[in-house]
Symmetry: C2
Subunit: 338 residues, 2 copies
């Protein structure tokens, strides 16, 4: 049975959301969950629910990392935290995957340096899922702030993203593209032009450059970029959604007719909200770490936690890490032969 080490103290609604998500996951997904956190707090929450015979255990941790802790502070000074303890469970082979809805920077740092990276991976990459107009999903990586990436690192992101996409969405030959400023081959910066040269030599279904708006058009599946750009793109998208939501609310409040209209079309808005909702996507995997690592949004509700656990289990079952190591070491061997 696949075992998930869940940071029970991570998200904004911890440990309630984590405990409820863990119960749902254990019940529906056939996984075992280790709830890692302040034992008394987690136990109290767990006892509020009926969960006879479910494979859920509590593992104590003495500390909690907050959203305000810097990644380096969290990594160096909070070694007794639920995140650290959960990461060590994966490192020591007591769990197959780490799931957290906590501080993203801290999670990336702790996963990378406690669990370690795969031998052929330079830098783990965080992959975010974006809903697109074809009602499918495109992923963008890295969104996790790997700045000043080298062309070889973008190539690794592409390979890892493609394997992840195949595992979760079942597409046989996902279309892989570089995020750039024009579709023509000579468009882009030094980094993307050099990465394109490398990607053309791989076995990937590399389709060239796409632009910012293609993230939502559904004409490609895996979109690769430096983490500086990916992180700005992710936060910008969240910003636009927030901005439009705010404007819509204001505009609707402006008249009685609008308010009535809104009440009548509320179901339409709810559908919209759901399709832009993180919780359906189950968090972002940090690809390239020696154990599957999923980082959920801080606002994760129980459904988001359950889905993060589902994605973690699917990536374990698909042997994603073995595939990444295999493909990247093959590419490295070709490069070494020159």
């Amino acid at each position: 049975m696949i075992t998930i080490a869940l940071d029970a103290m991570g998200g904004d609604h911890a440990p309630r959301a984590e405990v409820e998500g863990a119960i749902a996951a254990a019940r529906e997904l056939g996984v075992r969950v280790l709830l890692v956190g302040i034992e008394a707090t987690v136990r109290e929450e767990l006892e509020r629910h009926k969960h006879p015979d479910l494979p859920i255990e509590i593992v104590n941790a003495d500390e909690v990392i907050t959203m305000n802790d810097s990644p380096s502070h969290a990594f160096r000074r909070k070694k007794g935290s639920s995140l650290h303890v959960a990461a060590h469970l994966v490192k020591d082979g007591k769990a197959d995957a780490l799931v957290t809805a906590g501080n993203t920077g801290a999670a990336m740092t702790v996963a990378r340096f406690v669990i370690g990276t795969l031998p052929s991976v330079d830098r783990p990459a965080l992959a975010a899922a974006f809903p697109n107009m074809k009602e499918k999903t495109s992923i963008v990586l890295d969104v996790g702030a790997n700045v000043d990436s080298k062309p070889e690192q973008l190539e690794q992101f592409a390979v890892m993203g493609e394997i992840y996409y195949r595992a979760i969405w079942g597409t046989k030959r996902p279309r892989v593209a570089l995020l750039s400023i024009g579709e023509e081959e000579m468009k882009g910066n030094e980094l993307t032009r050099e990465a394109a040269t490398l990607l053309k030599q791989t076995a990937l279904n590399f389709v060239g450059n796409v632009e910012g708006r293609d993230v939502f058009r559904g004409n490609v599946d895996v979109i690769v970029c430096d983490g500086f750009i990916g992180n700005i793109a992710l936060k910008l998208s969240e910003g636009v959604v927030e901005q439009i939501g705010g404007m819509l609310k204001k505009a609707i409040k402006s008249s009685l007719a609008s308010q009535l209209g809104y009440a009548l079309s509320k179901r339409a808005f709810d559908t919209l909200r759901k399709s832009t909702d993180y919780s359906e996507y189950g968090g972002a995997p940090l690809l390239g770490v020696r154990g599957i690592t999923i980082i959920g949004h801080g606002r994760s509700n129980p459904n988001a936690i359950k889905n993060a656990i589902r994605v973690a289990a699917e990536l374990c079952r698909a042997h994603v890490n073995e595939k990444i190591e295999q493909e990247l070491s093959a590419i490295a061997a070709v490069a070494a032969r020159g």
Copy 2:
């Protein structure tokens, strides 16, 4: 009287939108407009309107640049185009400003190399206006695909953007920030960290780093970035708006109640649409060129053309180019002594 050289053949609705916009501008804004384009076509359109005594003249051009022409093809092979002729009118002092809603890449290249850049400017920068949640405007520059910028170039973008912001929005000390991946000073890539060091030494009201979502929050006025990132950010924002619009339409069509609701709240949607509408912003200035240059969206309607002319005239009246040259040459002098 300020004279505007308007590329009458540029946008998707040329020359109709251009001619109507020019008439409105000449009537309301006290400017003289030179309509540059295929003379017979422009004259035919102009004669459909009553415009007695308005300061509008036609200047013939034999060719038209299309949206499919590459910038280099447009620049090298279409020297008789309306864009080239309009740019030459500015270069030769027969007009104060160039306004076009045509091919953005071609417009940037022709403006830069026909009209030329200001002596202290390395690269002209395209500045886009974004509506923010405080119902004000933030600008982002460069969005015009200046890739692999150097720290000194970002510093120039900041100076030019600040002067533009003061001229159009009247703010005395606009808040200037670098687009990055975290607010802390050490966050960012090599480029933004070095640019921050330079910006702290200027007289600008430099407030440090902002993240992607701050583009819409209204806590800063002028947001500076490399053109690769700015261009991706601009197109991504357009993509999100397109995506949400499409999803909303679909969701609304899904039930009769929703349709009725939509009809009742239509005015709210129209307000929303208007506040995300390019045409209200009057196009993007290409800052750093020896004559004021405004590039409008290809979809520009007459109102957008009129507003682009308005912005061009305001930038002329505010002596924006003299101010840019003065501030940048002062910075260069300090650096040389440095």
